[in-house]
């Protein structure tokens, strides 16, 4: 037992005597190199962020630089450790080729997220800008300033709307008006306002106004036009404001939410004297039985208009 331990200690002593200095040097190269790399990457990030607004491109450039520097550090450490430099380079080239081949072959079968960094997307009920993606989760910044970490598994199993796939979006403004006589004036007014707005595009389709339907005495007018994705929200707000103000100026009456109330009396009508008013008596008899807690009920309340 003791002889075995002695032999092992002797072998360790031999390895340390032979390669100890190289091992220490390699470790120093590795540690100092990695620390230096961290420092350089921080400086590079600041430098690149100042020069480009495309953070996805900046991240790619940084990733490439990081990989190259890492390969240089590892190679230096391995050569210092005593590896044959030719073998080290062969190993690196082989590794790189293997990674490329694996990626090319497996790429169609790997699940990929349907967006990139900086895209504006809607995942489920969350709408915001993608800040970063990792193997596990995606970081999104919503427009009300919240940072949300969404598991990638949830994204892959949910509906995702990516607003960057198409440069334009159709804008929709529906306005109910009360009178049929105002249809043409409303149509002209809405169309004019859309056409004279610089943000409204003529392609893929020109702005148009439809008379959508007639429900409960209200005519629903629908304006449709195309705008750039980035200008969608403000354009919609501005157009709605301009249309409403112009309609008010032109005395076009908007259809308002209607509420009809039917009143049921709990007790029969008070009659001046029994038998004197047969009409009121008959009316009281035809009334439906009153409920205990309600003396009236709303029978119609439509939100649609």
């Amino acid at each position: 037992m003791q002889t075995e331990l002695t032999a092992k200690a002797e072998r360790l002593g031999f390895v340390l005597r032979e390669y100890g200095a190289d091992m220490v040097q390699a470790m120093v190269i590795l540690v100092v190199g990695l620390l230096l790399l961290q420092f350089i990457m921080r400086k590079m990030k600041v430098f690149i962020d100042k020069r480009t607004k495309d953070s996805a491109r900046a991240n790619t450039i940084l990733y490439i630089i990081y990989t190259l520097f890492l390969v240089v550090i590892l190679t230096s450490a391995m050569i210092t450790l005593g590896f044959d430099s030719r073998n080290v380079f062969r190993l690196i080239i082989l590794g790189a080729l293997a990674i490329i081949v694996i990626l090319l072959v497996l790429r169609p079968y790997l699940p990929t997220l349907p967006f990139k960094v900086d895209n504006t997307v809607k995942v489920g009920s969350l709408l915001g800008k993608i800040e970063a993606t990792t193997m596990v989760h995606t970081r999104m910044k919503t427009f009300d300033g919240k940072t949300v970490f969404i598991p990638n598994s949830k994204i892959l199993n949910d509906f995702v709307i990516n607003y960057h796939f198409t440069p334009t979006r159709r804008l929709k403004i529906d306005i109910p008006i009360r009178h049929v006589r105002d249809i043409l004036r409303t149509k002209q007014l809405m169309e004019s306002i859309m056409i004279e707005d610089p943000r409204v595009l003529l392609k893929p389709a020109r702005p148009v106004v439809y008379t959508l339907n007639l429900v409960e005495g209200c005519v629903k007018m629908g304006a449709r036009c195309w705008v750039e994705n980035k200008k969608f929200w403000i354009a919609q707000c501005d157009l709605l404001e301009k249309i409403l103000i112009a309609m008010d100026r032109e005395n076009i009456t908007l259809a308002e939410r209607r509420k009809a109330i039917r009143v049921f009396h709990e007790t029969p009508l008070q009659l001046s004297s029994e038998g004197e008013n047969p009409e009121a008596e008959a009316q009281a008899e035809t009334m439906p039985p009153a409920t205990e807690d309600a003396s009236f009920s709303a029978v119609h309340d439509h939100d649609e208009m």
């Binding site: 943000r199 501005d238 301009k242 103000i245």
Partner: protein, 104 residues
């Protein structure tokens, strides 16, 4: 006439779409009134007349007309113009409008 020709006539003549908007104003510099714009003439104009009129109104409200002699930095006769410097009707009234109207 082909439908494309008809559409071209409508596009060219019915309503001319402005390319952008600026606030035009007169600013007091020393003893003179100088015409100024925001955004400046070299900068890209705004694409929203609502925003431009709002800017004009805010500028006018920030520098209300004062009694007596005009002072350095006073802003008067603020209104919105298009890219060709043509006055634009105020969408709220449908007419020409000038904030801080002042006879210079």
């Amino acid at each position: 006439m082909k439908i494309t020709e008809a559409i071209k006539i409508i596009d060219d003549n019915w309503i001319v779409k402005p390319k952008g908007f600026r606030v035009c104003m007169q600013r007091r510099e020393g003893s003179e009134w100088v015409i100024d714009y925001t955004p400046g003439e070299k900068a890209a104009p705004l694409d929203s007349d609502v925003t431009t009129w709002r800017t004009a109104w805010k500028l006018a409200s920030s520098t209300p007309l004062r009694e007596g002699e005009p002072q350095e930095g006073d802003l008067v006769n603020l209104y919105v113009v298009d890219q060709d410097n043509n006055p634009v009707d105020y969408y709220a009234t449908g007419k020409r409008e000038t904030f801080n109207a002042y006879s210079v």
